[in-house]
């Protein structure tokens, strides 16, 4: 009985849409790790692993945000700019002598504002997500530039030592805090997406917005919540960057929105909505991180790394399409026979 139950459960996990892709890319990830492990004897060292994980953490965060939005059937192009905005606002306020934690709060509030604006523009004003977030992307980047009069900030100073340790340099139980932040946020957002009503509604809106509407799902609030999650994730990454470099950089987070799409999509999140799980986003972000780390060690220039990652994105989505096409063929064949 128990084994029957567990096999049923196993089956259910597999039947969940997107799980197949997660398994495929996980195998890819393991192969990558093995290859780089052979190439680089230090790859599995504690030092390299913890650095690698710290490198991956921000990508996981923005990936989670983008996944939320993609599952609703939309896209968030403002992620990178919100990262930059959060970085510049927090750093500028700290250099002006503000308490770092208050600066953190203000960064979050302003980012959340962008998230809500995104959600409302798309769900209430019916702007296409691409256009709405293209607009807020430009606005957020503009804010990042204007807060310190078009200059990167000076050092945020010794007063912010606690802040820098919390977000980047400190360790808890042998792991960098950055990794803990990503882990905790992932757990929370994964729980919300898979186990709560809000999460269910996010899938429903992405799967069939009309059906969701007719079933009494509040479309506007659901979409806005997804953008809110994205903004919170981006703001966190901005703070991590401030903590890392100890200053504000105007073009921090440049291009992150597309890294976020890449890690989501590699992990099996559909850009058409309704499909994907955050476990995939972790795997996607890890592939991205391992490639960066491994290729860097192998001496490959940035240009080569970009080309490789671009190819990986295309292959992983292509793989998904081919697998699904085959499934459909076998399905229609068996239908014909029955």
């Amino acid at each position: 009985m128990e084994s029957n139950n567990s096999s049923k459960r196993f089956k259910r996990i597999f039947s969940k849409r997107g799980m197949g892709q997660v398994i495929t890319v996980s195998i890819g990830l393991i192969m990558l790790i093995i290859v780089f492990g052979f190439l680089n004897p230090n790859f599995f060292s504690y030092r390299n692993i913890s650095n690698l994980l710290r490198q991956i953490a921000p990508i996981i965060l923005i990936g989670v945000g983008q996944s939320y939005v993609l599952i609703t059937g939309n896209i968030d192009l403002s992620i990178g700019s919100v990262v930059g905005m959060s970085c510049m606002i927090s750093a500028t306020l700290m250099t002006k002598g503000m308490n770092p934690w208050l600066a953190v709060c203000i960064s979050y509030i302003s980012s959340i504002f962008i998230g809500i604006l995104n959600g409302k523009l798309i769900s209430k004003a019916k702007l296409p997500a691409f256009i709405a977030t293209l607009g807020t992307m430009t606005i957020a980047r503009g804010i990042a530039q204007i807060v310190n009069n078009n200059y990167n900030t000076d050092s945020i100073g010794a007063k912010a030592e606690g802040f820098r340790n919390f977000f980047y340099y400190g360790k808890t139980l042998g792991l960098y805090n950055t990794i803990w932040i990503a882990l905790v946020m992932w757990l929370v957002f994964n729980f919300i997406l898979s186990r709560t009503r809000t999460g269910r509604h996010i899938y429903a809106v992405g799967s069939n917005i009309n059906a969701a509407n007719l079933s009494g799902v509040n479309i506007s609030s659901t979409i806005t919540k997804a953008y809110l999650v994205s903004a919170v994730c981006s703001a966190t990454v901005g703070l991590i960057i401030t903590a890392t470099s100890g200053m504000g950089t105007m073009d921090a987070g440049n291009g992150y929105e597309l890294y976020a799409v890449a890690s989501s999509v590699i992990g099996g999140v559909s850009t058409l909505g309704g499909q994907g799980i955050l476990l995939g986003t972790i795997v996607g972000a890890s592939i991205w991180g391992v490639l960066q780390n491994g290729l860097q060690f192998a001496g490959a220039p940035v240009a080569i790394r970009n080309i490789v990652i671009g190819i990986i994105v295309i292959i992983s989505v292509l793989l998904d399409i081919v697998v699904r096409a085959n499934k459909n063929v076998t399905k229609s064949k068996s239908k014909g026979k029955s």
């Binding site: 849409r17 709560t196 009503r197 999460g199 899938y203 007719l214 009494g216 309704g274």
Partner: protein, 505 residues
């Protein structure tokens, strides 16, 4: 206390430029199936959208269970026990059956979804209707008919007492329709009120207690089904007696136009052989899934074929892609006009000129707008397409006129063979007759017409020869004199029996 579940009185609704409903009243009793009938644009859907809260009425009263309901919206309608099963199914196909059934009213414990309980409850609802579906199945993996049953279960799980079904059988096979009717009867016997909208009048006798007829937004009449006849219903719908529903013209059969030999494509098109002559309409009958659409698509080059020789006017032609077929003069009016037939977001003119751009462009590839306007005007005139402006989006037209645009774009060039795949699906009676006349005209001009249809009556009414398909094969060729519904059905179901025999063996 009135004994009506729903009473609509003198409901009016106008859209810009159109009076969609003019003083329409409707009453529904508990335990009855009311057929709401009328041509496309008669106002059936508008009336039902008002009842289910999607539209707001301009005037009139809505009473549900004797209570006057002032402003009704979808959520309130659901609370009142009104549920609508849409023509296009509204399911989240990525979610499971149980997740769809409970969408919008998920069961939670301390804010956490309780899938176990929802699966359990969903199973109960499904069992109540004797539907055998695992509530944890992903809806996208179910067949259309099963999805529809899930949708009905969803409505019932909200304790809906009043069910509105909009063309529920249009995508079902006859076996599935039987299953659906069993469920509807069960619901009726349990005291639900059902409003049933359908164009398939033949089905009514299996299911309907009362009929109500709308025409041009006005209430025409309602009566008990047993006191009326189909002919009477049709005459009320169109407002005139249609003496000859199927206009047939006589024409001498001439030369052979097309011959298909050994056409094979996938499991649905096996070893197809037939010929088509000048001056005849060849009907292709069969049940859903018999491979008729697949056969037309393979013939047209839309799907790859494994083998098959096609001869046109005695010469062998090679068709690998649709363009090969179009160039040699074989054209297809596909089954799903919105999906395959039209670019709905493009203008009517663009749609007509799209497959004819080779005739309309100069050598440099510039479109000759004057010529484009000419062929558009000519097509609109020849087919009497009713439109306000040929620059309007194709989706703005009614179903019948959309269909005419799909046909018209092919007639703008000299075609030898026109393949019609379910050309009258979902269009009103008057537009159907126009399509029949059009086919007759092609036949008169000596153009070969292949006519796929699931409606037995129109196949019998309009074709000169009938090919019956089952399981991807042509099981019988019938001359119109010898063809009857019984014979067609006998050969169309040949496949089912084979399976049963195999099972026994």
């Amino acid at each position: 206390m009135s004994n009506y579940m729903v009473e609509l009185e003198n409901v009016c609704k106008s859209f810009p430029g159109v009076k969609a409903l003019d003083n329409v009243s409707l009453r529904l009793k508990s335990g009855e199936v009311l057929a709401l009938l009328g041509e496309n644009g008669a106002g059936k859907s508008t009336l039902m959208k008002i009842l289910s809260g999607v539209y707001t009425k301009d005037k009139g009263t809505i009473k549900v269970f004797g209570e006057v309901i002032e402003d009704i919206n979808p959520v309130k309608a659901q609370e009142l026990g009104i549920a609508i099963i849409h023509q296009e199914l509204n399911m989240c196909e990525h979610l499971t059956v149980a997740q769809n059934i409970f969408l919008g009213r998920e069961v939670t414990k301390n804010g956490v979804l309780s899938d176990k309980e929802m699966n359990h409850e969903a199973k109960k609802v499904l069992n109540r209707l004797n539907i055998d579906i695992d509530p944890e199945t992903i809806v996208g993996n179910l067949s259309v008919s099963k999805q529809q049953m899930v949708e009905i279960s969803k409505a019932l799980s909200t304790n809906a007492k009043i069910l509105i079904m909009d063309e529920p059988t249009s995508a079902l096979t006859s076996k599935e329709i039987d299953e659906l009717f069993t469920i509807i009867r069960k619901l009726r016997d349990d005291g639900h009120g059902i409003i049933y909208i359908s164009h398939r009048l033949e089905e009514l006798e299996d299911i309907v207690d009362r009929v109500m007829i709308l025409r041009d937004g006005q209430y025409i009449t309602s009566m008990d089904y047993k006191d009326t006849t189909l002919k009477e219903i049709i005459s009320y719908m169109v407002g005139r007696e249609i003496t000859e529903k199927f206009p047939r013209i006589e024409k001498e059969v001439g030369e052979k136009i097309m011959e298909v030999r050994n056409l094979n494509a996938g499991s649905h098109v096996r070893d197809i052989n037939f010929s088509l002559y000048e001056g005849e309409i060849v009907g292709i009958a069969g049940l859903m899934g018999a491979g008729r659409t697949e056969m037309t698509r393979a013939l047209f080059g839309a799907d790859p074929k494994e083998s098959g020789d096609i001869f046109l006017d005695g010469e062998e032609i090679r068709i690998n892609r649709p363009i090969d077929s179009i160039k040699s003069g074989i054209v297809l009016v596909p089954e799903d006009r919105k999906r395959d037939g039209l670019c709905t977001k493009l203008s009517i003119k663009d749609n007509i000129s799209l497959p004819n751009l080779d005739l309309l462009t100069s050598k440099m590839g510039v479109v000759n707008r004057k010529k484009e306007n000419e062929i558009t005007e000519e097509t609109v005139k020849n087919l009497t397409i009713r439109l306000t402006n040929s620059d309007a989006n194709a989706e703005s037209l009614s179903g019948g006129n959309q269909q005419k645009v799909v046909v018209g774009k092919w007639l703008a060039r000299d075609s030898r063979v026109v393949i019609f795949d379910e050309p009258t699906r979902g269009i009103d009676v008057a537009a159907k007759v126009e399509i029949y006349n059009l086919m007759n005209e092609l036949k008169d001009q000596g153009i070969g017409v292949l006519f796929v249809s699931s409606e037995m009556q129109e196949i019998l009414g309009i074709s000169d020869r009938i090919l019956v398909m089952a399981d991807g094969k042509i099981t019988k060729e019938l001359d119109i004199e010898e063809a009857t519904q019984d014979i067609i059905l006998e050969y169309a179901t040949k496949f089912d029996r084979k399976i049963e025999m195999k099972k026994e063996a």
